[in-house]
């Protein structure tokens, strides 16, 4: 029996994403070549700035695969950053203990959210919205002041934050003074990419990863086929919050500060990256490499807006929101076409 050719919307979406990224980056290179857009460092800077987002987007993908959503990620990052800042600057903790506590916070946070969603069947949006406001509030409870982590506060952390991994000089560029500037990466990027690969591996090669896809694809069927749907959902949220904590550490290494206003709107960027990268809101479809490209697109938009000195940074926000809207509508149309062809 031949299989019916169904308009495979999912592959088309991923293709659109890749084309979009390459197209945008090319435009940026052409228009802002004089601002250094064509240098490799520009691309590397996108990676460096968005190391945390890469990790969060991976976690968000996992949660969205189950058909859920987690909008608490931004406030969790803010809370983690504030905790790191306070613990290292005020309480004089070492970097390692502080980091371990932050990871623990993430796991506990994820357990609570996961239990409410998986076992009590409460809408993920409400749960994570409460989580979002809890996190924001907690950040202020820890401290309402803006704190920065100086070299005196914690030497180790400071070193990590400023570490550079140099790349071969021939990949670099010559600046106006005739000096060759070699491109560099930071360790945060390496960590983010390692996390990305690990999550991708888990999604493809582990039973848990496949159960995420199954639950999102057809929850009733998954239950009937013997999967523990409730535990799968719980673990999805634990994973998301845990990865979020890792992202919080990376974010803190980037900003070296804790403040109440940090990571505002981060959840939007994460969701946008995942959706643009081909993750379906309804669940069951998605992959972290697509989300990675989504992050790159997000980063490219911000870079383009920044390169144009006249545009306000708000435009980046609007562009991302518009892109998200476009992709959501696209997903909805594809779903309707698929329904009608049945």
């Amino acid at each position: 029996m031949k299989k019916k050719k169904v308009f495979n919307g999912n592959n088309i979406l991923l293709l659109i994403t890749l084309v979009l990224f390459i197209g945008m980056y090319t435009i940026g290179c052409i228009v802002y070549a004089d601002k250094g857009f064509t240098h490799l460092q520009t691309f590397l800077n996108i990676l460096i700035t968005n190391a945390a987002l890469i990790v969060v987007a991976s976690g968000m993908t996992c949660v969205m695969l189950t058909g859920g959503i987690d909008i608490s990620v931004g406030s969790l990052i803010a809370m983690d950053c504030m905790f790191l800042a306070v613990s290292m600057s005020r309480w004089h903790w070492g970097a390692i203990p502080a980091i371990l506590v932050v990871l623990l916070i993430g796991i506990v946070f994820g357990c609570v959210q996961g239990y409410l969603v998986g076992y009590l069947n409460i809408q993920p949006f409400i749960v994570s919205m409460a989580g979002m406001f809890f996190g924001r509030g907690m950040t202020a409870v820890i401290s309402t002041d803006q704190l920065s982590i100086t070299q005196d506060a914690n030497r180790l952390f400071y070193t990590w934050a400023n570490a550079k991994i140099p790349l071969p000089a021939f990949l670099g560029y010559t600046n106006k003074k005739g000096k060759v500037i070699a491109p560099f990466l930071r360790p945060t990027v390496i960590i983010a990419l390692i996390v990305l690969v690990l999550v991708a591996f888990m999604l493809k090669k582990s039973r848990f990863g496949r159960s995420l896809y199954a639950v999102g694809g057809n929850e009733t069927a998954s239950k009937m086929m013997g999967l523990n749907v409730r535990r799968t959902k719980l673990l999805a949220y634990v994973l998301s919050s845990f990865l979020c904590s890792i992202a919080g550490i990376l974010y803190c290494l980037n900003t070296m500060a804790g403040s109440v206003q940090q990571a505002l709107g981060f959840e939007m960027d994460a969701i946008a990256s995942a959706v643009i990268g081909g993750t379906l809101l309804t669940g069951g479809v998605g992959n972290v490499f697509g989300s990675f490209v989504g992050v790159l697109i997000n980063g490219t938009i911000v870079t383009i807006v920044n390169s144009n000195g006249k545009l306000l940074s708000s435009w980046a926000n609007i562009a991302t929101a518009a892109l998200l809207c476009f992709f959501i509508i696209l997903q909805s149309i594809f779903a309707a076409i698929k329904d009608r062809s049945k």
């Binding site: 090669k205 496949r210 009937m224 698929k338």
Partner: protein
């Protein structure tokens, strides 16, 4: 248990609040046979299966299966699966976003020695399974790319690979075309030869005769009989399901000579709906009562919905009182003067958290539109009128309708449509779940309304009801109109003959 028997269910009783779903039900399944489970609505087919597979508990009776010690009580579908009983439902319970191979192996994917999934082995074994069942497909393609027919076969393949000795197929052919049905039958015969027992739940008579060995008939939750297919002519089968003996038939001929006017109210030509109804014509005059009869699943409700505009029709035209009516949604039909009482009152009729009064005046209010609210005094008047007329038992008109019994809810929904004063009213199973006394009231009401000039379509599983109220009967089978009976043909015997398809045979009149 006899050697060739794999499963016996005896004396099974199951009660839900207010209704006895199963009363001394029984079933015997032999090894390597295809066994049909048949019965009308409320017969208890799905309850019996859910009891067997652990979805429901049961109060009395015993289940014995070969290889299982003592009374087998399954507490969950998983437990039933471990005992070798698997069910494949009409809505395929697989994940459309995963590949065929993955669906076959979810929860039990083969792993490499590093504990990660071995995709190569999984795909290879999947191909072997599908080849073994002679189903051609690319096991790495997503399930959603395949038709329902193939998806069902994948579900069956998974069940068989997991060691199912008893395979329950619940209405598997409802969404299949003839070709696909043939392929499914081929698979079923193949499994039978491998000693798998198949319990085939269906309402398609022809299919039962095409592929089954034995038939068990249930009625009103009780066991009626078990018959080998070769010894069971269609007529006898229909009688067993509907509960009438040929010899006992009282010809309840329509003695009242009904005056049917010449004025055509609704004229529909060539109406069809993809997948459920083949093109049919429908004409009704003022004051006429037409009944749609046939077995469950023959398309009665679907036909009614097409006429009402609840479902999009693919072909055909409809004229209401001579004017072309292109109803894109129920609102258009209601404005023209139609009403529709759906058969599934819980899903399509009752607005649970609204009061009885609100439920009754809802259709009338929708007809008037948002900007013309019915004054409260008038609402009270209308609600009280129908509470009295239909004898709806409710603490007050403000009681939430969800607190009423099923029968009273039904009456309230009926009142809702009567309140709109329609010229044409479709009643789909209006007396289901209602006590005898009120059933008669409703039938009398139908006649009264017809006498006052309303045109009605009356759908019921009880033929005698329809014979008492209808002037004409449309007989449906498998989504098609197969007969139109009126005048002297309106007898139980004649109707059942047309349903059964022995229309050519002239049976003896008692």
């Amino acid at each position: 248990m006899a050697d060739d028997v794999i499963l016996t269910m005896r004396g099974i009783g199951k009660t839900f609040p207010g209704v006895k779903a199963l009363d001394n039900a029984q079933l015997t399944l032999r090894k390597g046979e295809i066994h049909a489970l048949m019965g009308e609505n409320g017969a208890g087919k799905s309850t019996l299966i859910k009891v067997l597979t652990g979805v429901y508990s049961f109060e009395t009776g015993e289940i014995h299966m070969e290889g299982v010690e003592g009374n087998m009580i399954n507490h969950s579908t998983l437990e039933a699966q471990n005992h070798g009983i698997a069910t494949v439902y009409q809505e395929v319970n697989l994940c459309p976003n995963l590949s065929v191979a993955e669906n076959l192996f979810i929860g039990r994917q083969p792993r490499t020695k590093f504990r990660n999934i071995d995709w190569k082995t999984m795909n290879r074994r999947a191909k072997e399974i599908m080849d073994g069942l002679q189903i051609e497909c690319d096991v790495t393609a997503n399930l959603e790319n395949y038709s329902i027919a193939i998806q069902q076969m994948v579900a069956i393949a998974r069940a068989v690979d997991m060691g199912a000795k008893i395979l329950i197929l619940d209405e598997p052919t409802s969404s299949l075309d003839d070709n696909e049905v043939e392929k499914l039958f081929k698979l079923m015969r193949d499994l039978r030869s491998k000693s798998v027992s198949i319990l085939f739940v269906t309402h398609f008579l022809e299919q039962v005769y095409a592929v089954c060995d034995r038939i068990t008939v249930l009625r009103n939750g009780s066991f009626v009989g078990e018959y080998p297919v070769s010894e069971m002519p269609r007529m006898k089968l229909v009688q067993a399901m509907l509960g009438k003996e040929v010899e006992d038939l009282n010809e309840i001929a329509n003695s009242e000579h009904k005056e049917v006017s010449d004025e055509v109210v609704v004229e529909a030509k060539g109406i069809s709906h993809k997948g459920t109804i083949k093109p049919f014509d429908f004409t009704i005059h003022k004051g006429e009562v037409i009944g749609f009869t046939g077995l469950l699943g023959s398309g009665r409700s679907e036909m009614a919905r097409c006429i009402y505009g609840a479902d999009r029709t693919q072909t055909g035209t409809l004229k209401f009182e001579g004017k072309e009516l292109n109803a894109k949604n129920p609102y258009d039909s209601i404005q023209a003067g139609m009403g529709f009482l759906p058969d599934d009152r819980k899903a399509d009729g009752v607005i649970g958290d609204l009061s009885v009064r609100e439920n009754i005046i809802l259709a009338l209010q929708a007809k008037k539109g948002m900007l013309h609210p019915i004054p409260m005094s008038k609402q009270i008047e209308i609600a009280d009128k129908y509470i009295k007329l239909l004898e709806i038992k409710t603490a007050s008109r403000e009681t939430l309708i969800s607190q009423l019994s099923g029968g009273n809810q039904q009456k309230a929904i009926l009142g809702r449509w009567l309140a709109t004063d329609p010229k044409f009213l479709i009643l789909d199973e209006p007396t289901r779940g209602i006590d005898i006394g009120t059933k008669t009231e409703i039938q009398k009401l139908v006649l009264k309304l017809a006498g006052e000039g309303m045109s009605l379509v009356f759908i019921s599983s009880e033929i005698e009801e329809m014979l008492r109220t209808c002037t004409k009967l449309y007989v449906l089978r498998d989504g098609q109109k197969v007969g139109e009976l009126d005048g002297n043909d309106l007898t139980q015997g004649r109707v059942m003959a047309v349903i059964a398809g022995d229309a050519d045979k002239k049976e003896e009149k008692a």
